[in-house]
């Protein structure tokens, strides 16, 4: 009989489209969270997200790559070229060749040479040059590393030696003279490096050359042990990845993905504890009555009349001000505790009124007459009757917990070591993303917050016909 009833309830639940959508959304959320837990480091926030050096080779504030589908003028892709071993190795010179094919009118933001882990006994000479599609070669820079074992990062833009080389190249090859300082001031480095000058009404303009660029790195040394661990050439494009990047060049898609388990954790933990506390208090209050009931209900009245957000802000602020406290307890845990403490009352009040009417029914009287203990009556006979309601309330509490955390993140009061969607929005707001039109920094995190919240609202709405049989449409 009981099993039959449960199946019937389940089929009522599954009959509505709302609950089907809710369950599907939840499944996607769980899969995303599982992926993160398995494949991403759990200390992602501290080790990568809040570590600007990790993101140095990412372009800053660029939109996602898929915007190219909608754009006429394609944005230049971000390209990283690497070589572990020299392409040519002679007795006293090792040559690394990295070929980059450029097929866009757009110029890169900058080009960075990275020479990782250079080891040697005597200082070698390292020459950087580029061979353009038209066969012209520009010798860019000569580096002499002083200590063995170091890495060198050479940014071509804004570097005087490079500008001097480019200025000389222009004079020799095209008989155009632009001084090195002017090149730096007008940011002409890549126009010259990747273009040919054309005169347009008395003003020098540049036409971008498409084709294969060969970035050459020569390591000249008599020392046979001299070597470069690996070389990289990073061509900084104007779009990146699936979700674009923020002001530090951080790949937003990673943090967006990481937000799934965090949101799920905050929402589910808060709602489960709140529902449990509320149900327990409600059942006890309704079943025992008398002074117990009075105390619990007055407490509920008080808690129910307190505006949650200001208090939450206040608590989180206190935590932020107190260093000692912050080290012992994570702000996320505090959010959960405060939410539980101030939200169980609502459930308790309604559960109590439901318990009062259930208690008056005869089967309760019967089981007391047979000698069932109070605990048994409460948990075996009363609780199952109010369970669907509690479950539905739990589903409604989950989104409010997720939304509260996001709101506190926006105020900068959440746990900075764990990136959440709210924190992405906080940094977007703090860095004027709205006024710069950086939609990819604002829209996706909010949509995901909404997505995770609406998942549980849908499930709660699907549960409504079970909780409130009057709403059933048969």
């Amino acid at each position: 009989m009981r099993k039959l009833l449960r199946n019937e309830l389940l089929s009522i639940f599954l009959s509505s489209n709302t609950s089907k959508v809710g369950i599907t959304f939840l499944a996607i959320m769980i899969i995303a969270s599982a992926y993160v837990v398995i494949f991403m480091p759990l200390d992602f926030g501290l080790r990568y997200w809040n570590n600007p050096t990790f993101w140095a080779d990412y372009p800053k504030l660029v939109p996602p790559e898929w915007v190219n589908i909608f754009l006429g003028d394609k944005l230049l892709r971000h390209t990283i070229l690497t070589a572990e071993k020299p392409t040519l190795s002679l007795e006293d010179v090792k040559q690394y060749i990295l070929t980059y094919s450029h097929d866009s009118d757009q110029l890169p933001q900058t080009v960075v040479f990275k020479l990782n882990n250079m080891t040697f006994t005597y200082t070698p000479i390292i020459e950087l040059s580029v061979r353009r599609p038209d066969g012209r070669v520009i010798d860019l820079l000569v580096i002499q590393p002083l200590t063995s074992g170091v890495s060198e990062r050479v940014d071509l833009s804004g570097r005087l030696e490079v500008a001097v080389a480019l200025s000389r190249f222009l004079k020799d090859e095209f008989n155009v003279s632009i001084s090195a300082t002017e090149i730096i001031q007008r940011k002409l480095e890549f126009k010259i490096l990747m273009g040919t000058p054309v005169a347009s009404n008395g003003y020098v303009d540049f036409k971008t050359l498409r084709g294969n660029y060969m970035f050459n790195i020569f390591l000249r040394s008599d020392d046979p042990t001299a070597r470069i661990g690996s070389v990289e050439v990073v061509v900084f494009g104007w779009c990146y990845g699936f979700m674009g990047t923020d002001h530090l060049g951080r790949d937003l898609s990673q943090a967006l993905l990481y937000g799934f388990p965090v949101a799920l954790l905050i929402g589910v933990v808060t709602s489960v504890i709140t529902a449990a506390v509320g149900a327990l208090a409600g059942v006890v209050s309704g079943y025992y009555g008398g002074i117990v009931d009075e105390v619990i209900q007055r407490l509920c009245d008080i808690l129910n009349n307190i505006p949650l957000l200001p208090l939450l802000i206040f608590f989180m602020f206190v935590i932020r001000m107190n260093e000692e406290l912050r080290r012992t307890i994570s702000p996320l845990a505090v959010i959960i505790i405060v939410l539980v403490v101030f939200s169980w009352a609502g459930i308790a009040i309604i559960v109590r009124s439901m318990v009062l009417s259930i208690k008056a029914q005869q089967f309760i009287e019967a089981s007391i007459a047979v000698g069932a203990s109070s605990i048994r009556v409460m948990f075996k006979h009363i609780l199952p009757q109010v369970a669907p309601f509690i479950f539905a309330q739990m589903m409604f509490l989950t989104p409010s917990a997720i939304l509260s955390e996001a709101a506190l993140s926006l105020l900068g009061l959440s746990d900075p070591s764990i990136p959440t969607w709210g924190q992405i929005l906080e940094s977007a707001f703090a860095n004027q993303a709205m006024y710069l039109g950086l939609w990819w920094w604002i829209v996706p995190p909010g949509l995901l917050i909404m997505y995770s919240a609406i998942t549980f609202v849908f499930i709660a709405q699907g549960l409504e016909p079970i909780v409130e049989p009057r709403l059933r449409r048969v």
Binding site: P310, L311, F314, M321, A406, M434, A453
Partner: protein
């Protein structure tokens, strides 16, 4: 109701006491006063050693005056008393528009702005919600009726402040139709009341639109479910069975009985929206209490945060109190 207020006050008092926050605040005040006194003393006393001794004496005196030598629980009654008589101290970082740095002045100046924005939004959204809710309740199963639960789900799970950011992005940045924030155009010097009013409306549009979208869904849903549940009551069935005209049933039986719960929602919604609009105000830089809160957090202005937490609670509790009174007026069945 009053118990709630006291409860919150004692709670916040204990929290700031236990965590040592009140010590920080008071020591700050003491240091501030000492600095001023030291400058004055330095004119009179030339010998640095003597000066230091005098300052040290004064410091001990101040510490005694602020009860800093006593444990935190001995100070709580005084703190609570001070907050209750709205002696909310001075702000460290903010000035009121008229230049005062007293917390009370700043808050009282900004309270009307918050009320203006929130009340406008709540009024519009509740009116639209009422009309649409009633309409969909009278046509159960229609397309609109079926989409109400979807609309309410979206409303419920929409982070209002994020929607505000998107609205700014679209209307203020892309289309450049509305200002991105503030309450008046800076540099607007005209005294023409109509121009000023239009300017205010122009600035009010985006925040009110944001709050409207966030509120209207739940309004439609709540009205609809209240009306539907009353439609299923016996007295409506009896009324129909008696052959009363549908108009009489609707106006006299249905609406009269739906009024108290709908009104409850309206006032609670208003009280809830005032606290809920904290972030929306911050996003739109609306010169109300919400953006004050935001700035107080950014500049770690403890006095201000304490006072605002109290004021927000006060607003909420007062709204609940008004509700209790209105209940008796509206619903003759309720008697105390």
């Amino acid at each position: 109701m009053i118990a709630v207020l006291y409860g919150v006050l004692i709670l916040t008092g204990v929290i700031i006491g236990v965590t040592g926050l009140s010590d920080i605040v008071l020591y700050n005040i003491v240091d501030e006063r000492l600095r001023i006194v030291k400058q004055q003393l330095a004119i009179k006393i030339k010998d640095p050693e003597q000066l230091n001794r005098a300052v040290e004496e004064l410091k001990q005196e101040f510490i005694r005056a602020y009860d800093l030598d006593k444990p935190w629980y001995a100070r709580i009654p005084r703190v609570i008393y001070q907050i209750m008589i709205l002696d909310l101290g001075t702000s460290r970082s903010t000035l009121s528009f008229s230049g005062s740095n007293k917390v009370v002045d700043i808050i009282l100046e900004r309270l009307p702005n918050t009320v203006l924005m929130v009340t406008t939004a709540v009024l519009i959204s509740s009116l639209v919600g009422l009309v649409v809710g009633l309409w969909s309740a009278s046509r159960v199963g229609s397309f609109l009726d079926r989409s109400t639960s979807l609309i309410s789900a979206i409303s419920y799970s929409l982070p209002t402040w994020w929607f505000g950011m998107v609205v700014i992005l679209i209307f203020a940045y892309e289309l450049r139709l509305f200002p991105s924030g503030g309450m008046t155009t800076p540099g607007l010097t005209t005294t023409d009341p109509i121009t000023r009013f239009l300017d205010l409306l122009w600035h009010l549009f985006l925040p009110v639109l944001t709050l409207f979208v966030a509120l209207v869904g739940s309004w439609i849903y709540v009205t609809r479910s209240i009306v539907i549940s009353i439609t299923k009551e016996d007295f409506i069935v009896v009324g129909r069975a008696k052959g009363l005209p549908e108009r009489v049933i609707r106006n006299r039986y249905l609406l009269r009985n739906s009024a108290p719960p709908i009104l409850t929602n309206m006032i609670l919604g208003l009280a809830g929206s005032i606290t809920g609009a904290i972030l929306t105000e911050a996003i739109f830089n609306w010169p109300g209490m919400g953006s004050l809160y935001y700035n107080a957090i950014l500049s770690a202005d403890i006095n201000m945060i304490l006072a605002l937490t109290y004021i927000y609670t006060l607003v909420y509790v007062v709204a609940r109190f008004i509700l209790e009174i209105l209940y008796v007026v509206l619903d003759p069945r309720v008697r105390y």
